[in-house]
């Protein structure tokens, strides 16, 4: 076991735990945001750099601080380690920089994006981003691609988290999509026109932190905050059958995996459950899903409602200037 102090809060965790997981076990503000790390995907994390934290004390044995900020998702805790997340100016400044980088080429098309309301990048920008954009250059764009009849890839919105590639590698056989080209020309693609066609491909949609991979059976049907998530299950011979089904009125508009408070699915589900079971009679409904993180969905529906921060007058001035 290792004792770690994160932003002044002590927690004891198993050896081999990452700083991010240790912080999640505390929860709340001290948890760094993570856009590419995904607990259930081996080797994920380290790419987006949003979870950078300052290690002000390496360990009890070697108390020297780490010279650079470290990605908390890929750095193991040591006994006696002291980590600064929200209490580190350096980490917050770096994070602001990372958010800016992630948005330099992002289309900011939230008004027409299906992910709006449950988008990690939206939350991240709201919590850690700046007020205005300093880049005046044309944004990078790509053509939309259908990768199969159920999934659409809109690369323009992608932040290259590699999660969908890892899903294809780890829970399906025969990956047909990947990252092609390099640098800022890198893109998720099948390269040739090709369908990602296997029983678990739909999980790419669930792991995508932005609106780059969307469910074609749900596209443009409704804004997510007009739908009500309910926990449901069915007998399925391919997966656990445990899902969240999203209602609008009495209609099931979409089916997703069950996500925890970090927006990660508890279990991957199969495409039959996701795409083909859209009747209420397909499901045994367990009850409403508690929505705590993406507050816009829970607005006016569930508990834990938090009033969004309001702009103060001087902030508005800054926007104008």
């Amino acid at each position: 076991m290792a004792k770690v102090i994160i932003d002044g809060i002590e927690v004891e965790v198993e050896d081999g735990t990452t700083i991010l997981q240790a912080a999640r076990s505390i929860g709340g503000e001290v948890t760094p945001p993570a856009m590419c790390y995904y607990t259930k995907l081996e080797g994920s994390g380290g790419y987006c750099r949003t979870c950078l934290v300052e290690v002000s004390k390496g360990s009890e044995k070697d108390p020297r601080p780490m010279p650079k900020l470290v990605p908390s998702c890929r750095t193991m805790v040591q006994d006696g380690m002291e980590v600064k997340n929200t209490t580190s100016e350096r980490a917050l400044e770096a994070r602001k920089g990372v958010v800016e980088m992630l948005l330099v080429n992002h289309p900011l098309d939230c008004p027409v994006c299906d992910q709006a309301g449950e988008c990690d990048l939206q939350d991240l920008s709201y919590d850690h981003g700046g007020y205005n954009t300093r880049s005046e250059f044309e944004r990078r764009t790509f053509e939309k691609q259908d990768i199969g009849d159920k999934i659409q890839l809109h690369m323009t919105r992608c932040i290259l988290c590699y999660r969908c590639v890892k899903v294809a590698d780890q829970i399906t056989d025969g990956r047909v999509h990947g990252v092609i080209n390099r640098g800022d020309a890198a893109e998720i693609s099948t390269y040739i026109k090709n369908a990602v066609d296997n029983d678990f491909s739909g999980n790419m949609i669930d792991v995508c932190p932005v609106g780059a991979l969307t469910d074609k059976t749900f596209r443009f049907k409704s804004r997510v905050w007009f739908t009500k998530p309910m926990l449901a299950h069915r007998d399925c011979d391919k997966c656990s059958g445990k899902t969240t089904i999203w209602f609008k009125g009495d209609d099931v508009l979409r089916v997703t995996g069950r996500k925890d408070e970090w927006n990660e699915v508890e279990e991957f589900i199969c495409n039959t459950c996701r795409f083909d079971k859209k009747k209420v009679s397909d499901w045994t409904i367990e009850g409403p899903k508690e929505v705590s993180r993406s507050s816009v969905i829970s607005a006016n529906k569930y508990k834990n409602l938090e009033k969004p921060k309001e702009f103060k007058l001087n902030d508005i001035k800054r926007l104008d200037s």
Partner: protein, 449 residues
């Protein structure tokens, strides 16, 4: 005349071939190591020599070797980094084309020390013609019993192969190099684990630069002590310097560490002074990644001491007034050079070479190039210079691999020391012509079928 221990015989006719190389004392280090020394003794000798990684990082090679994990029943690898791509650096190419057996000999001796039975030379694809030269040398080494099974009748067997890259600066980063050697994209790995524990094919691996491995030969022949006596302080031995730019005699020079920079630039033995006898304006002393310094600071430190060719002296003053020895890529610029224009050139390079894995580097390098392109097109503003400064601070230290720093430091140093060059372009946009600058996002443009 400085002491030459790597290139001593480089100009001897026929030294490319085995016979002449052997006549000049070639392969003695293998004989000495295999017949009279234990592997540990070879490692100790390299530690004693104090030789530091010649690829740019300057990490003590003997120390790196001693970190190599040695679990039972798991193969260990030595990989030579011949992916020389740092702008301004061409010493490894020179060494490999002139005296290829020196590298082969170093690889065998080093592999013996590390207990590696297979080693690879990863060479950049653009040096394809050198592969023929190296493979011929390897063939000769096999034919004469220096490679293969039970070398010199000992238990030590060794196979050596050459592996080509295909055009990617990032593969000079050791973990990207290993990915590339495994047939993947050259994406640097997250560290830890370091290659010494989990490297090529997840096995313990040492990656060393060509020049570092070549230096093993004189270190074993003459002893680590003798090597350590060359040079100055913790900068032991000699260094191959690739000199280019506005000088009379560009080329590769082997210098003893501690040579004054002024002598290196102006002496006829080395660069021979500035081309057309113009005035010196700036020097990039260790390849494009290291901070650029103005003439006064490259010739003398901020304390007024003569600047020397050594790790310590070049970095004296930190990034405020110093730079780094880096890979020894020494680019000289005369008084006519606009440093902002040169910086555009560097930022374009880093943008082109970013692997695209992590966001600060992927987006930041592109952004910096775009801003400088705009300034060079005569459309820049003073705010652009400050923005450029701010962007580099957001990349520096926040990326997976050192390419982020390599892209940031030139920007920081150019603005720090040559802000007036940027302002001049902003204030006098007349005559700037953007068509001169071949802006391209990436020359990789796939056809989607």
């Amino acid at each position: 005349m400085g002491k030459k221990i790597l290139l001593e015989h480089a100009e001897v006719p026929g030294i490319q071939g085995y016979e002449v190389y052997r006549e000049k004392g070639g392969y003695r280090s293998v004989e000495k190591a295999l017949k009279t020394m234990s592997a540990e003794q070879v490692v100790e000798e390299v530690k004693t020599s104090g030789v530091r990684g010649r690829g740019g990082a300057g990490f003590p090679a003997g120390m790196k070797w001693s970190f190599l994990a040695k679990p039972e029943g798991v193969p260990r690898y030595l990989v030579c980094n011949a992916d020389e791509s740092e702008p301004g650096t061409f010493k490894d190419r020179y060494l490999m084309s002139k005296i290829p057996h020196l590298l082969i000999e170093g690889m065998i001796t080093a592999s013996y020390a590390l207990g590696a039975n297979t080693s690879y030379i990863y060479i950049r694809g653009e040096y394809y013609y050198l592969i023929g030269i190296l493979e011929k040398a390897i063939e000769e080494a096999y034919a004469n019993g220096w490679l293969g099974k039970n070398i010199l009748g000992t238990d030590f067997s060794h196979d050596l192969y050459v592996h080509p890259g295909a055009g990617a600066y990032i593969c000079g980063e050791e973990t990207a190099l290993l990915e590339s050697l495994e047939g993947k994209r050259g994406n640097p790995r997250m560290k830890p684990p370091f290659p010494a524990v989990k490297g090529l094919y997840d096995c313990p691996t040492v990656v060393n630069n060509v020049e570092t491995i070549a230096a093993v030969v004189p270190i074993i022949n003459d002893g680590g002590e003798a090597y350590a006596n060359i040079g100055i302080g913790r900068s032991t031995g000699t260094k191959l310097i690739s000199a280019s730019g506005h000088i009379k005699k560009p080329g590769v020079y082997e210098v003893e560490m501690g040579l004054p920079v002024e002598e290196f630039i102006y002496s006829d033995e080395y660069c021979g002074g500035i081309l057309n006898d113009k005035k010196l304006k700036a020097v990039v002393a260790g390849g494009s990644s290291v901070p650029i310094l103005p003439a006064d600071l490259i010739l003398t430190t901020a304390n007024g001491e003569p600047r020397l060719m050594s790790y310590e002296s070049l970095s004296d003053g930190g990034f405020q007034t110093g730079t780094m020895l880096g890979s020894g890529g020494f680019i000289v610029m005369d008084e006519t050079t606009n440093i902002a224009k040169n910086l555009y050139n560097f930022t374009r390079f880093y943008h082109h070479e970013s692997c695209g894995q992590c966001s600060p580097c992927r987006e930041g390098t592109a952004w910096m190039e775009k801003i400088l392109h705009k300034v060079l097109a005569g459309k820049g503003s003073m705010e652009d210079i400050d923005l450029l400064w701010d962007i580099q601070t957001k990349i520096d230290g926040n990326t997976i691999c050192p390419l982020g720093e390599a892209a940031s430091w030139p920007v920081a140093s150019a603005i720090r020391h040559f802000r007036q060059d940027f302002e001049e372009l902003v204030k006098n946009p007349a005559g700037l012509d953007e068509t001169r600058y071949y802006y391209h996002c990436n020359n990789i443009n796939p056809e989607v079928a």
